[in-house]
Amino acid sequence: MEFLVAMLTAAFVENAVFSRALVGESIWKRQQRPMQAAVFLGMVTLLTTVLSTAMWGIRTLPTPTAMRALWEPLAALMLLWLCYLILYHLAARWMPEAAFARILSVMPKAAFSAVSLGTLLLVASRSFSLAESVGFGLGAGAGFALAVLLISWGERQLRMTDLPAPFRGLPARLIYVGLLALAFHGLIGHPVVL
């Protein structure tokens, strides 16, 4: 139950993109190639799930409160590094050359993305149980994938719409993401005073 609640919270209530703006340049680029997008999103979800579990273990280590603000990012970065190295060597050893080249083009950006580090930092800053940490990591990755799919769908609609010239491209996308974020904010029951 804890696992499920944490997962749904991370995916909808605290969606990485819509409630914390954990987006990168890659969120606009990946949508153009579905295969690469799938690999990228799969990798982000895998990383957030595995590393959240590891972060739960690290969080239980005794740390002086004054050092926490520096210790948590360092621990998260080290975990990302370790996971990236393991994935790299596994992929280099077991994958065919073409697939390895494809995965290598997205692996660093997936590992060192705002959503990966952000999820780890969130897990580190909360007193989650093990099940909640795993659920939160999985939900954060799934929520990110959902956001990318929604943005990708909107992108296609925006391309077909006759927009004024200054709004074409990035400005329209940003406003669309803003409206989606507002919709998510309203959907989970938060009021907005206008």
């Binding site: 914390r20 703006a21 990168g24 660093p108 800053s125 200054p166 990035l170 669309y176 507002l182």
Partner: protein, 230 residues
């Protein structure tokens, strides 16, 4: 070290007309969608914007400098991870400085301060300049990008604090209305969308004026040439 000395002696950093044109024509946040995380999510007050700008300055420029110097010894798949790790080294003094300016910085900015370590602005500048261009060019590009980031962060902080809380640097300003939308990430995205459109419109206007002026100057020169021939 020799490269730094040569750069400082032969190519002093100055914001030339070309630099100003670049600054206006290439805002990393509004034209390329880089560094959206800190600006859209955390720059909802001027103090936050200032703190983020200070830490970004501490992280971006020295990281680019160091990456540019050690680029030959870096293995290609490790370049991005190395950038994040190098950035952490410079994040520590940046965080200390920002903390001296704003003691409650950690509670104010939470996870958004360490997220500067994997910021797209840093990675893009590292990929496009530090690993490819000369040291001088990398630093110039880094400075221009930093200036573009600071400008948008402060603008976003100013507008969102005013519209969201009715204050400026914590001091109350009497406004007929405020909206909580401004301090949400949703408001940040919407504001950035409108700012990006406005920036593009201004850039296009300036470009047109520039083209018209140079066209007029060309016609004048041609007329003078003809008169001289006659």
């Amino acid at each position: 070290m020799k490269r730094i000395q040569a750069f400082l002696q032969n190519r002093p950093l100055r914001l030339s007309r070309q630099g100003l044109k670049k600054l206006l024509g290439r805002s990393p946040v509004l034209l390329r969608g880089l560094a959206l995380v800190p600006v859209a999510a955390a720059c909802h007050s001027l103090r936050n914007a200032l703190a983020l700008s200070v830490v970004m300055a501490f992280v971006l420029l020295p990281t680019l400098l160091l990456l540019s110097l050690i680029r030959r010894s870096l293995w290609e798949p490790m370049r991005l991870p190395a950038a994040a790790l190098v950035a952490f080294v410079f994040y520590i003094p940046g965080w200390q400085t920002a903390k001296a300016l704003l003691p409650d910085i950690s509670t104010r900015l939470g996870i958004f301060l360490p997220l500067l370590l994997v910021d797209t602005l840093l990675f893009c500048r590292a990929e496009e300049s530090a690993y490819r261009e000369t040291l001088g060019r990398t630093m110039c590009e880094g400075l221009l990008d930093l200036a573009g980031f600071v400008l948008v962060a402060l603008l976003s902080g100013f507008v969102r604090e005013l519209a969201g809380m009715g204050t400026l640097m914590g001091q109350p300003v009497h406004l007929p209305w405020t909206t909580s939308l401004a301090i949400l990430p949703a408001g940040g995205f919407i504001l950035l969308g409108f700012l990006a459109a406005g920036w593009r419109l201004c850039g296009e206007g300036i470009r047109r004026v520039y083209i018209r002026r140079s066209h007029r100057a060309l016609i004048k020169r041609q007329r003078k040439g003809k008169e001289a021939e006659e």
